[in-house]
Every structure is written in C-alpha cells, then in structure tokens.
C-alpha cells in the first residue's frame, strides 16, 4: 500500500483515522513525543479514548513525528451514500477541500448514473435511524 507521498508502507503499519473519532497509535510514544503530538494544532488527546484529529492539515506533521516508528496515519472519511471508507489523501480535491470533513461521497458512488436518487435514499435512511 502506498501513501499520498508515494512512500510504500506495510498495510499493518497504516493507521486509519477519521476526523473527530478517537484512535490509538498502538506504539509506545514516550513522554516527549506524546507532548509534541498533543501540541499540534488540530490534535487533541482524550484520556481513555485516544488521540482525536479535528484538522486534517495536522496529519503531515503527525506523520513526520511518527516516521521513526515506521507507521503512517492515513485520513479517511465515510461515504454518505454507501457507508464505505473514502481515502482523503487520494482525493482529487485534496488541496481544495476543507480540513475537517468526516462525511464525503466516494468516487464510485459519484460515477453512478442515479447517484442523486441514491443520495436521497441514503438521507432518508439516516433520518429514519
């Protein structure tokens, strides 16, 4: 699996991150590194839950800090139509998009002929739940 920067990383070293949802890096960070991460803009730590990213622009800096552990943080959103994961770093609009998006539309749904009707159906489903 490769990241947006073209770097090849083993699948098990990739950490999936959703904006606003907590994640655990599964590595022992140490006090200094932990403090550096928490100080990053757009990253916070909640005891018992883990790190929460509220701004995707923090990810390159976070990846630089974690590079010595050979892990890579990869941001994902969720497709509102099919519910599948959407990889943000491979999106064609990466530089133009907001940095706090958690819900998106995946390319395969967007390419479908009746995408609008599917979107309405998905919205109805959400409203009912």
């Amino acid at each position: 699996m490769s990241t947006s920067s073209g770097q090849k990383v083993d699948k098990k070293n990739i950490i999936k991150v959703y904006v606003g949802s907590p994640f655990q890096p599964r590595i022992r960070l140490g006090a200094t590194l932990f403090k550096s991460i928490v100080r990053l803009k757009g990253v916070e730590y909640r005891r018992g839950q883990g790190f929460i990213i509220s701004d995707l622009s923090a990810i390159p800096r976070l990846n630089t800090l974690l590079s010595r552990f050979n892990v890579v943080i990869v941001p994902y959103g969720r497709c509102i139509i099919c519910g599948k994961d959407v990889r943000c770093d491979q999106c064609e609009y990466l530089d133009l998009c907001r940095k706090d998006v958690d819900i998106c539309i995946c390319r395969s749904c967007l390419e479908q002929h009746d995408v609008w009707n599917k979107y309405i159906q998905a919205q109805r489903k959400i409203a009912r739940s």
């Binding site: 509102i80 999106c91 064609e92 609009y93 133009l96 998009c97 907001r98 706090d100 998006v101 958690d102 819900i103 998106c104 539309i105 967007l110 995408v115 609008w116 979107y119 309405i120 919205q123 109805r124 959400i126 409203a127």
Partner: protein
Amino acid sequence: MWTEKYRPKTVEEVIGNEKAKRIFINWVNDWKAGKAKELGILLVGPPGIGKTSWVHAFANSYGYTLIETNASDYRSQSALKERLGHVTKVSTLDTFFYGKRKEPLIFLDEVDGLDPKRDRGGIQAVIEIAKSSGVLTVLAANIIDPKQHKDLIENFYVIEFHPLTPRQIELLLKRIASEENLDIPDSKIREIASKAKGDARTAINMLQSIAVGMEISIMEPTIENLPFSTFMKRLFEAASYEEISTLIQSNINHIPDLIQVLWDITMRSGMDINFLLDYLKELSEIDILWRKINLERKWGLLRYLFVLLPNYIYRVRRYITYEEKIPEYRFYLFVKNRKVREQRDEALELLPRLFHVSKRKFMTEVLPYSYNVILHDAWKDFREWCSRVYG
C-alpha cells in the same frame, strides 16, 4: 434562475452539513419538549452553503408555515416589531385553508446586518419577539461578531454551517445537469466544483452560464464578503467601471476602510496640487455622504454613493497605483504574528495614557513618528513591525 429552481424542497435534498442538520433537528425536538434553554437557533456560515435552503426545506418537511424576513430590510426595533410582533403560535390561517393547523416558524435572515449601536433596539427586538411569541425562531448570519452580537449568542443556540466539499458540489451539479439534459463533460463539472470553493450558489450559477455557452475561465467566484486586501486588489484590477461598482455594492462593509485608504493613497500619490485639490474635494463629498447615510440612516442616499465612489476609483487609478501599504489606522487589523500582537496590546495599554492621548490618536499621530524612541527592547518585535510598516 437555477438556484431557485433547484432549491431543496425537503430536508433530504439539502446537501452537506450533516452534523449541523442533525444538531438542528435535535434542538427543535428539545425545544418542543420544553427542554431547550435558548430562545431559538442562530445559523452561522458563509453565503451560498445552504442555510436559507435548509430552513425552507425544514419548514416544508416538518409542516411549519415559514414567516421569513430579511433583517437588513427591517433593522429598527419598531420596524421589526411591526413586521413580526403579531406572530403567535395560533396566528396562521392554515386552519382555514388546509384544514389543519400549521405552526409558524419565524426566519430572520442576515441578522449580522443589525448593528447594536446604529440600529437601536434591533437585536433586542429580535430577542423579545422570540421570547414573547413562543414560536420557533431561526436566525441566519454570515459572520457573527462575539462582541457586537453578544446578546444573540447568549440567547440563541449557535449552529455553524460549513462550505460544501467539492464532491458534494459535484453531486449537486450532476443532478442539475441530468435534469436539464445537459451534455457537460465531467472535466468541466470538476472544474466548477474546484472553483466554487464550497459555495453551491456560485457553482449552480457557473453551470447555468456554461449551459448558455460561457467559458469558466472568465467567470469569477463569489464577490461578496471579500477580505479587505482582496477587495482592494480587485478594485484596482477591475476591467470596467461596472465591475468596480458591483464590487463596492457587494462589499458595503468595506466602504469606511475604502474611503480611508483612498484618502491615504491620494495623499501619497505625489499629484500636482491642483489635481490633488480636485480629487480631495470629490473624496470629501463621498465621505460626507457616507457619514450622512450612517448617522441619519438614510439608505436611499446609497444610490448616489454607488455612482460617486466607483467613479472616483475609476478616475483616480489612472494616476496612482494601489500598493498594499497599510494605512496607519488599520494596523490593528493586519498584525498576524501573535508575538507582535501581544506586544502591541501591552504597549497600547500603557503608552497612550502616558502621552495623554487616546489609543487612536496614539496610533495615528504619535507612533508612526516616534516608535523607534518610545518602544523599548521588551517590545522589539512590535518595533520591527512598525519599522516595516512606517518605513
């Protein structure tokens, strides 16, 4: 207009801002159950992202009768009360027309246009109407100033609306293209989605323009609410008088700063004294007119200002170029460095009092000429900043 034709009719048709929409519905449920502490909802977000559409769609889907008013048309306490003061839970005529009673929903758009000082009692009137009517009240604003609109923030539940993502815009455009039977290549749709900057209204307008044969390259995205520096740059680069006029009319909030900057650059222009006198006479008339409009609330006079001001800029820019040099009085707004900002605030807390002058006088009449002497080493960054600005 396609923006009206494709305005969402039900809540499902509103694209984006999923979280905000969920919070909105939950708050209304709480409000109905008497659990909500606030008087109503205040939607905040840039133009063209679906605030108004959401309220329309919500009223339609959940069976409310929408009573909509634009706060910039009814600004004073008396005007607002006259327009909305009579609205109560049982005041709509739906029982007669439709056989069932629909509750009213008061929607006040552009409340950021209400100035607590100039539009006396306007904000208070909004709060009183929401309190006394017992009707679901929703306000919308582009930008909310925590100081100026403190009362609104305290009394209303603030929900932020964000610009749409380019893919959401793409979805919207694909829907319109398919319903209008347009044969527009995906690359064009992606180009619009990229250029719209999350503004659905701009995107739809761009699509409609393409449908009639215009090129995207000559279309400019939204010109409302531009940052001041962009606004100035665009004014001086505008291709025509009409463009200058449109820019000014779409950014009225920048007029006081614009007049100040025009004064500043005219004075620095090095024009012949007779020329300068003519220009200053014209500018003073514009300035007096603007102040009259504000003091006496005579909005009808704006039509003269919208001719005089673009005309002045159109003529003066032949002789002067706009440098992004910051006029002294604006330096408050332009400091981006936190360290400099902190040092500036510290200095401004202490020094004007020592010099027995107001902060404004200190900034414009003392600091530009003596920053090197009066700012000691503790305010080094601020001193360096002053030297860059004042030269």
